[in-house]
Structure formats: structure tokens, C-alpha cells
């Protein structure tokens, strides 16, 4: 009898085991779904620790990482431990605590401390996320003095190494970086009229793009740099026009008594989004870049929208909404409900499609701030030169 029971057990146990072993069949629940649509403003930052760095190197690392969606905790609480030193050459290591391995080990030499620190932050971002960091990118912006005169500046994205690229001692505005090139369009009154100019900082080329009668304002180069959109009123109404990059072959796109402003391109070059008015109310709209019907873009909950900017990955439109004060808003590019993020105006996307730079108004003075739209982490740049505004991020 006992032997029979044992035989029974020997037969049953394997059956039992197979019956209850995890079966990857249709009925089994899937593992936790990673939703690829990151939620604007509510995504938790990646916690990292920073040890061994000091002074300017530490502040550069913290600034760069904070505005790309990282937060700073003790090594015990960190998902990634970043360590190193900057006495002498900068050395950096990153350990992935969960995978329990070192994912970056590098030293830097031959450049300024700031430059090396930005290079390290880019390597950290790439090691953790597999995506290019923004530490070594540049911006253009306007620096204006109290009497209204200003100059166009370029600098590191965090305001470091600022350099004036105009010396016009007059009103300037709307610098717009040409994607993939060290060149900008901008507006200047140096000839006694608001005109649009182009400067290539690498070659020294300087061109007048639009000096028509009336005001020539708000230049916006296409993503491939072959065309430039602008706002002109040479034909009697303030409207949207497009030309070749050198200003030739001008084509009028809109014909409305209302004033259009702030054109920006979709990254595929097919659409131009801009601010306009319909029935005396401020709205955003878009038009095919080759011409066609103007389509209104509703911004429910975010009234008086202006200054749109389309993210490089095509997914989002950032813009300024005005309800009393100005607010930075983000909405899905193919329509939806905007999310109001932080007070500010005139956003410009970085190449990573999550960090943007904008103008902050504090006590009627302008300065620049940098925002990670997914975590809502924001950092002020602080005064660079006079009233700093109208940033344009190089892509």
C-alpha cells in the first residue's frame, strides 16, 4: 500500500508541477505595461547621486542633469550613482545600482572646466538613457537695455560664454537659429526699419533677407534650412510669407486683415504653425508650408495663445498662454488639451524634445529659464546681459 502511494505521488507530483508552472499563454496577464507616452508635468525624475565633484563642475553637472529630468539624492536612494573628481582633470563614473554595474568611466582633458563638465553630463545622460544630452548645445537670444536698444547674443544653453553677434546699437528681436548650422536669422532696425538679416557665424556671411516697406519681422527657418518663414506687411496687411533661405522667391501664404506672428515649422517641414486672430480672439493656427487653407488649432483651457514652437520629434507644440499673467503650455501637436506648466513666455525646444528654454518676467525684468516639461523641473539662468529674452535653441 505504501509503495502504491509513493508511486501515486511520483506520478502526481510532476503533473502537479506542470499544471501550476507559469504558462505564457494568452490568458496570462502581461508584465507591467510601459506606456511610451510620457505624461507632461507629472513624470517622476530619475534619482541620482553626485559625489566627489565641487565648485563650478558640480554646479554645471547639477544644472544640466536637473533640466533633463534627474533629481539628486543620497547614494543609498539613487538609481544611478555618479562619482568622480575635478581636482586636476575631470573624472566621472556612473554605476547602475539595480543592474549592479558601472556604465560609464571616463576622464576629460584639454578644454575649460565648464566645457568638460558639460561633456561629462552628456556622457552621463547617454549612459543612462541612451539619448544625446543637451549639455554642449547653444542658444541665441536678445539682450535689451532699458532704452529699448539691444543686441543679438549667442551662448551656451545655460548662458555661459555669451557673445554679441550684432553691434547695431538699435532695436533687435527674434533671433532664430538655423537647424544644423552655426547661423541665425534675426530682426534689426539698423537700417532705420525693422528688417530681417542672416548671419553665418562660421563663414562670416551676412545677408539682408527682407527689407521691404513696412515691418519685416519674426523670421523662422525651415528644419532643413532651405526656406525661411517671416511676417511682412509689404502688401498692406500683416501676413505670413515664405521665401528661399536667401530671401528670394517670396510667396505670400496668408491674406487676412488680422495680424499674424511667430511662425514655426513642423519638423517634417510640411506645416507652419503661427499665432493669429480669428473673430478678434487670439488663436493658434497652421497652414501647409506650400500654401493652402489655414486651420485653427484649438487650445482648450489655454486662452490667448501666442509664440508656438513645435518639438523636434514632432509630438508637441509649446506656446504662451495669457490669463492675466503668461504661462508656458504644452499640447499634443495633432490636437488635444494643453497642460499649463509654469509662468513664462516664448518657449523654444531643445534638440531632446523634452527640455525647453523660455523667458521669465520678474518685477518687469526679463531673464531666461530652462524647463524639463516631463518632470516640470525648472531652473533660472539668471541675468546674462540686460533684459534677456526671445531665446532660440540651436538644433
Amino acid at each position: 500500500m505504501k509503495k502504491t502511494n509513493l508511486q501515486l505521488a511520483v506520478i502526481l507530483l510532476p503533473i502537479l508541477f506542470f499544471a501550476v508552472a507559469p504558462v505564457r499563454g494568452q490568458n496570462e496577464s502581461a508584465p507591467i505595461e510601459i506606456n511610451p507616452t510620457i505624461t507632461i508635468g507629472l513624470t517622476p525624475p530619475i534619482p541620482v547621486s553626485l559625489t566627489g565633484f565641487s565648485g563650478e563642475v558640480l554646479s554645471v553637472l547639477k544644472f544640466d542633469l536637473y533640466v533633463q529630468g534627474f533629481s539628486f539624492v543620497s547614494p543609498d536612494a539613487a538609481q544611478y550613482q555618479i562619482s568622480g573628481s575635478n581636482s586636476g582633470n575631470i573624472i566621472g563614473h556612473v554605476t547602475d545600482k539595480v543592474a549592479r554595474k558601472e556604465i560609464l568611466s571616463r576622464s576629460y582633458a584639454g578644454a575649460s572646466l565648464r566645457r568638460e563638465a558639460h561633456a561629462l553630463s552628456d556622457d552621463i545622460v547617454f549612459a543612462i538613457r541612451g539619448k544625446k544630452g543637451i549639455g554642449q548645445t547653444k542658444i541665441g537670444f536678445k539682450a535689451q537695455s532699458e532704452n529699448g536698444d539691444g543686441e543679438i547674443f549667442v551662448s551656451d544653453f545655460d548662458g555661459g560664454n555669451p557673445q554679441a553677434i550684432t553691434h547695431d546699437k538699435t532695436i533687435v528681436s527674434a533671433p532664430a537659429w538655423v537647424p544644423g548650422r552655426l547661423a541665425l536669422y534675426y530682426n534689426s532696425y539698423r537700417l532705420g526699419n525693422p528688417d530681417i538679416f542672416y548671419n553665418n557665424l562660421a563663414t562670416g556671411e551676412a545677408r539682408t533677407i527682407a527689407a521691404y516697406g513696412g515691418s519685416n519681422i519674426s523670421p523662422a527657418p525651415s528644419p532643413d534650412g532651405s526656406k525661411v518663414a517671416m511676417i511682412l506687411d509689404k502688401d498692406g496687411w500683416v501676413d505670413l510669407y515664405v521665401a528661399d533661405a536667401d530671401g528670394s522667391h517670396l510667396k505670400r501664404l496668408t491674406k487676412s486683415v488680422e495680424d499674424e506672428s511667430s511662425p514655426c515649422w513642423s519638423p517634417d517641414g510640411k506645416w507652419i504653425c503661427f499665432a493669429t486672430k480669428i473673430n478678434e480672439r487670439r488663436v493658434l493656427a497652421k497652414i501647409p508650408a506650400d500654401g493652402g487653407a489655414v486651420q485653427r488649432i484649438p487650445t482648450p483651457g489655454a486662452p490667448n495663445p501666442t509664440e508656438p514652437d513645435w518639438s523636434p520629434d514632432g509630438k508637441w507644440i509649446a506656446f504662451t498662454s495669457q490669463m492675466g499673467e503668461f504661462d508656458i503650455c504644452i499640447m499634443p501637436a495633432d490636437g488635444g488639451t494643453p497642460v499649463i506648466l509654469v509662468p513664462g513666455q516664448d518657449p523654444s525646444w531643445s534638440p531632446n524634445s523634452r527640455t525647453l528654454i523660455f523667458t521669465k518676467l520678474t518685477n518687469w525684468r526679463y531673464s531666461l529659464s530652462v524647463l524639463d516639461v516631463f518632470t516640470k523641473q525648472v531652473k533660472d539662468i539668471g541675468r546674462i546681459s540686460g533684459n534677456d529674452s526671445q531665446p532660440s535653441w540651436a538644433k
Partner: protein
């Protein structure tokens, strides 16, 4: 019955194990991702102004504006003229907030400007459009230009050849009052009229050097 003594605990064990497979298991070796979690929807936005009207046919609310706009004057034909900012300073016209509508109360000023220009056919006119500081920068630059254009069109209707009139927008860059209240802002929402005289040192017909 002895068989039952074995089968019964096995059955219980089977039942327990089947019940426990209802839990999700994290496969080994996968790092729990912090990014990309689906989070609860955003909290409701604060109450706002009603959404804009649906698009309709272009409505022209300001009867002073022509149906097609008037082509801009050639800026080259205004070179080297002498600016007189005082002659027409009394006739500056002002605008409502966020609007380029010319109020009825401003029409007398426009008539005075037209009359002054009619009195001396050699003169030309520069209209500068301005905004208060409360709009965003490029929006204000465009609005300022529109304010200058509507004045040019209104003057055209009063008989002033629009080719004698240039327009420039200064956006919010040149306030007359740098205060941060409505008393200042209403002064800044304006068109200024600058009389342009031919330069006496330039003989008529000679191109600028």
C-alpha cells in the same frame, strides 16, 4: 483510504499553488523603469475665458480697413529726409487694449494730420505703431504694425496718398510712460506721426550718396 491521505494534502497544495499563480511575477533581470509610467490624468485646469469662436468667414470689424490692404511705400523714396517729431505730436492717436480699432474720438486727429500733409506736398509721413508692455514680444511687434497700417489706410480715405506714408512698428520697445499700470499703458498704445521734410542739402532728383 491511505491513498486519500496522500491525495488530500496534494489536492490542497495544488489548490494553493493554483491560487498563487494569480499574482503577477516580475521576470528576473528587468530593471523597474521610473520613466514612462502611466500616471493619473492631470488635475482640472482653472476656469478660463470661453474658448475662441469657431472659425467663420473673415469678418472685418473696422470699417476703416480696406478690403485688400494698401501696398507699402518704397522705403528708398524716404531716404535722407529730416524727421520732425514735434510738428504732429499733438495728433498721436491711442488704441484700446489688444486692438487696432480707431475710435471715433481719434478721427479729428487723423484729419489734422491729413491737412498738415496736404498743406505741403513735399513732405512725407512716418507712422510708428506701439503697444503697451502686456503682450508677448513678437505679437506686439505685429500688432504695432497693424496699428500703423490702419492709420495709413484711414489717412488714405481722407485723401493722403499712401505712397507718402511709411509705417514702422516698435512693438513695446518705445513706451512714452514706463509705469506698470493702466495709466501708463493707455499712453503707450499709440500711433505717433512724424513729419518728414526733404533734406535741403540734397538737390531734388539726386540719389543719396
Amino acid at each position: 483510504m491511505k491513498t486519500m491521505k496522500i491525495i488530500y494534502p496534494l489536492a490542497v497544495a495544488l489548490a494553493v499553488m493554483l491560487a498563487s499563480t494569480g499574482c503577477k511575477h516580475q521576470p528576473l533581470g528587468i530593471t523597474p523603469m521610473r520613466e514612462g509610467l502611466t500616471l493619473p490624468p492631470n488635475p482640472p485646469l482653472p476656469p478660463t475665458l470661453p474658448d475662441t469662436n469657431p472659425p467663420g468667414p473673415q469678418i472685418n470689424p473696422n470699417p476703416d480697413i480696406t478690403s485688400h490692404g494698401i501696398e507699402a511705400a518704397n522705403p528708398n523714396l524716404f531716404e535722407d529726409m529730416i524727421e520732425d517729431t514735434n510738428a504732429l505730436a499733438a495728433y498721436t492717436i491711442h488704441f484700446p487694449y489688444d486692438s487696432a480699432a480707431i475710435r471715433d474720438s481719434e478721427k479729428a486727429n487723423l484729419q489734422s494730420v491729413a491737412s498738415e500733409l496736404a498743406a505741403d506736398p513735399a513732405t512725407k509721413l512716418l507712422v510708428t505703431g506701439n503697444c503697451d508692455e502686456r503682450g508677448t514680444e513678437e505679437y506686439n511687434r505685429a500688432l504695432g504694425e497693424r496699428r500703423a497700417l490702419v492709420a495709413r489706410e484711414a489717412l488714405a480715405k481722407l485723401g493722403l496718398d499712401p505712397m507718402r506714408v511709411r509705417t514702422i512698428s516698435y512693438g513695446k520697445d518705445q513706451p512714452v510712460d514706463t509705469g506698470h499700470d493702466e495709466a501708463a499703458w493707455k499712453k503707450n498704445r499709440r500711433d505717433d506721426f512724424i513729419l518728414l521734410h526733404p533734406n535741403p542739402n540734397m538737390p531734388a532728383g539726386m540719389p543719396p550718396s
